[in-house]
């Protein structure tokens, strides 16, 4: 077992992922307090509040963060919030524009009136400070080149202090941490986070200390959010596969340990015989 061909493990994991996707079981999804934190805050925002969504990821993290973004945007549009979307990742601009436009169209929202996609601006985390001083100097025009000043969706918005709630969906840096350090801590708006599974453990200290009011972690978090808004999508569909692969990995870890200890026992016994 310890010398098993790694390709057999790949096949096992592949089958554990593929079969539940083809034949879903529909395992229950429990909502965690950190995901509910984000949902409840958006739910309580009054109509017309300014909601900033920073899509800080690129296509490499699409399977985890795309479902999160779709679920949050659907919720924000349903609450009739004014959505201001942007990205701190240059390689994610095209995907982010497509995502925002697709959900807005689905929810019957109008560009410039109900939402705007600002696109990307250079500077990384420094752009957040710039936005805190004046949003229009950081983004003089939106992604399609239309001047941001005068767009109805940005009425009364001068800088980050006028934002009611911001969420960063991050696959790394700049992301949630940058938005806290250069944004919330300085300009005092409420901040939530969404992230890939890899960076989630690093963001829990921010959640515990109240520096962010909620955290949507990985595909699991996206599935919870989809369940909360009652529109099940790709994340919920992937949860059976996720559970099956996790079970397979746990079984493999236990088996390998059992074989390892039994082999060690055998070696000891052979030494004693000699």
């Amino acid at each position: 077992m310890l010398r098993i061909d790694r390709r057999i493990i790949f096949v096992v994991i592949g089958l554990c992922t593929l079969l539940p996707l083809l034949y879903p079981v529909g395992l229950p999804i429990k909502i965690s307090p950190e995901v509910r934190g984000v949902y409840d805050y958006i739910e309580k925002l009054p109509e017309g509040s300014v909601f900033l969504l920073s899509l800080d990821f690129d296509p490499a993290s699409k399977p985890e963060l795309h479902p999160q973004a779709i679920a949050i945007l659907r919720h924000a549009f349903r609450q009739n919030l004014r959505v201001v979307a942007m990205t701190l990742w240059l390689t994610g601009t095209g995907m982010a524009d497509q995502l925002v436009t697709q959900v807005a169209k689905e929810m019957g929202k109008e560009k410039g009136k109900d939402y705007v996609f600002l696109g990307w601006s250079p500077g990384g985390a420094a752009i957040i400070i710039n936005m805190g001083q004046d949003l229009y100097t950081s983004f003089p025009s939106d992604y399609n080149g239309k001047p941001t000043k005068g767009q109805p969706v940005l009425d009364g918005v001068q800088n980050l202090k006028d934002v009611s709630y911001a969420i960063s969906l991050a696959a790394g840096n700049p992301g949630v941490e940058a938005w806290y350090v250069y944004g919330k801590d300085k300009y005092k708006f409420e901040l939530g986070g969404g992230c890939t599974g890899v960076i989630a453990p690093g963001l829990y200290p921010l959640l515990r200390s109240g520096q962010i009011n909620g955290l949507i972690g990985g595909l699991r978090g996206a599935a919870e959010y989809e369940s909360l808004i009652g529109q099940k999508g790709r994340a919920v569909a992937g949860m059976d596969a996720q559970s099956a692969t996790h079970a397979a990995i746990v079984v493999l870890v236990v088996l390998c340990n059992l074989f390892y200890f039994s082999m060690r026992q055998q070696v000891r016994q052979q030494r004693q015989v000699r």
Binding site: L90, G119, S121, P122, P140, G218, G238, Q242, I249
Partner: protein, 249 residues
């Protein structure tokens, strides 16, 4: 063939080529890998040129007459002097500016956000004074602010900090504290690894979901045809390699 269908064929083909690496390294994987790197770099250059050079520099200067933008442009251009050995010293001014501004912005904000706020959270009071009820102690492990969790975090932080304190030999009671620190570190690494596994599996789920979607006749079943092509190519490449004399490989 419309753009969506063409996109489905390209995405399916590249996914299968990349996944073929799980069997063994092969030219199909190399093709997809190089395409990924090339497309990423190309996309970045084009977007940076369009956003920065055209929309943030050239248009404001020539159409709106914002000549003050020439100052950051001049500082930024100094970076390019690194390609001219005799004038490369000029780039130091640009670097000095970036390092100075960057440090000035980052140091106070990072200390405030990650050190002071986290210390404040770690040394939270264990007992809470409830009006009319006196001091209360909460045992709820699931609540991040419960008294029990405050104690666990305090023990964890102190023991891990002690483990990384190498000026004192970890013997006697110190050994027990250092061992506790290791225990907390192991739990943290385990949690991080668990989340990493979850993330990687999510990526696989994402690709397989797309492959299932693209096996639909409306796309022309690219998953099935390209899977056959990939498997066929792998078999052919394997046979050709077996037929090649060892010194020619």
């Amino acid at each position: 063939m419309d753009a969506t269908t063409l996109g489905a064929w390209v995405a399916t083909g590249l996914t299968l080529f990349i996944l073929s690496f799980l069997y063994k390294d092969n030219p199909l994987f190399k093709l997809a890998e190089h395409l990924y790197v090339g497309v990423s770099v190309g996309y970045t250059i084009v977007k940076a040129y369009d956003t920065v050079l055209v929309h943030l520099i050239l248009k404001p200067i020539f159409e709106q007459g914002e000549v003050t933008l020439l100052i950051p442009v001049a500082i930024g251009s100094l970076m390019l002097t690194r390609y001219v050995p005799k004038a490369s010293w000029l780039s130091r001014y640009a670097f000095a500016f970036i390092v100075g501004v960057g440090s000035g912005l980052a140091i106070p904000r990072t200390i405030s956000s990650f050190i002071l706020k986290q210390i404040e959270d770690t040394v939270r009071p264990v007992m809470v004074l409830v009006p009319g009820e006196g001091l209360s102690f909460s045992w709820n492990v699931l609540s991040p602010t419960s008294s029990l969790n405050v104690i666990i975090i305090l023990i964890g932080v102190s023991s891990v900090l002690f483990y990384f304190f190498f000026s004192v030999e970890h013997t006697g009671p110190g050994r027990a504290v250092a061992r506790t620190g290791i225990l907390f570190l192991m739990i943290a690494f385990g949690a991080a690894f668990g989340y990493t596994v979850m993330a990687r599996m999510s990526l696989l789920i994402g690709r397989l979901t797309d492959l299932i979607e693209f096996s639909d006749p409306s796309y022309g079943r690219p998953t099935i045809w390209l899977l056959l092509l990939t498997v066929g190519s792998m078999i052919y490449l394997n046979r050709r390699r077996q037929g090649t004399p060892p010194d020619a490989q």
